[in-house]
Point group: C2
Chain length 203, copies 2
């Protein structure tokens, strides 16, 4: 069979989004990442600008600031619930690549999903950020650290999984060591010959 859905979890600066986009283009699949904001806004009833400000990177996702009494946490949970519904619906349509958004976890019970994790070593990520986002070298350490800390905290809070642990993914690739094109090729190869064995229950 063919994997109908490919999820990409990625470190900031690893080029995981680019890997996902090229994979989608080559397979003729739909591509979703930040563009899901519009759908999540519709589904949650929140304004798009609110969703943009509060999705994933919001401080209230960071567990050490998390407080059951805070409105922040309720909003976060509502956003996550809306995101979950949007992703489950997209999966029904199939033939798509989804970057981030805990899609790997949300779709863990489907057998037609290939889950990928893309990462890279520090210097490779820094180079990429400077090149892609025009960041200055000075601020780069803090930005890398902040972004990944928030991404990790959000992911671990909503999935109870450990960020960066190979076990949760079908394939993990160091894009810095292997190059973007090799990563795309490997994912396409796997997607085209995917055995479709379901993940074992982790709940």
């Amino acid at each position: 069979m063919k994997a109908k859905i490919i999820t990409i979890t990625r470190e900031f600066g690893s080029g995981g989004r680019t890997v996902g986009k090229l994979t989608a283009q080559k397979l003729g699949y739909d591509f979703y990442d930040w563009n899901l904001v519009t759908e999540i806004a519709k589904e949650s009833g929140f304004a798009q600008s609110f969703v943009e400000e509060n999705l994933e990177d919001a401080q209230n996702y960071v567990p050490w600031l998390f407080n059951m009494q805070s409105i922040g946490s309720d909003l976060s949970d509502q956003l996550f619930a809306a995101q979950r519904r949007v992703i489950l619906e997209l999966a029904e349509k199939g033939n798509c690549v989804i970057v981030g958004r805990c899609a790997d976890y949300i779709l863990r019970n489907r057998s037609d999903v290939l889950n990928c994790f893309i990462y890279a070593q520090e210097e490779a990520k820094k180079k990429r950020i400077v090149h892609e986002y025009g960041e200055t070298e000075v601020k780069i350490d803090k930005r890398l650290k902040d972004k990944d800390r928030k991404r990790k905290a959000h992911y671990e809070y909503y999935t109870s999984r450990k960020w960066g642990k190979a076990f949760y993914y079908d394939i993990c690739l160091d894009s810095g060591r292997l190059g973007i094109e090799n990563c795309v090729q490997a994912i396409i190869g796997m997607a085209e010959n995917f055995p479709g064995i379901p993940r074992e229950n982790e709940d």
Copy 2:
């Protein structure tokens, strides 16, 4: 360039050894795993039977039993040192696949090494162990747990790395979800188009 050396770190029951062996056959590379015992015995001066009993699975590798005063720890360190010298020498010859033996860590400063981690989910590993090693289902849980606990403890003690963390490998593959053949294909694809960018210094 082509990756001259492929290291395979693997969970017990994941079929990582088979992945390594098939990869070596297809690339025409030498294959090393348990057969390194003879070389390590020669290099260390210990008897082959002693090396067989004390390599990797020995209790004295388990950190919570580790004691600087114990002879056990000295022997373990001597064995690891001999293993290290043997692997560094093999790497000079190149064109080989090395399974286990912390080869990924020992060769971390070479740019021609492709590092792979092979794992699988619990039920997939159990099925494989029953099928490959003729183990009874009854003892399987304990055997899986023991083997991986020792392998992990040995690896973490000698490398200061975290077992199963994607970051330390170029490519990580769930052999249960993807199938052995897909894993072999992905590794060969990477080995043949390996950019040869050195790993960043982690010492």
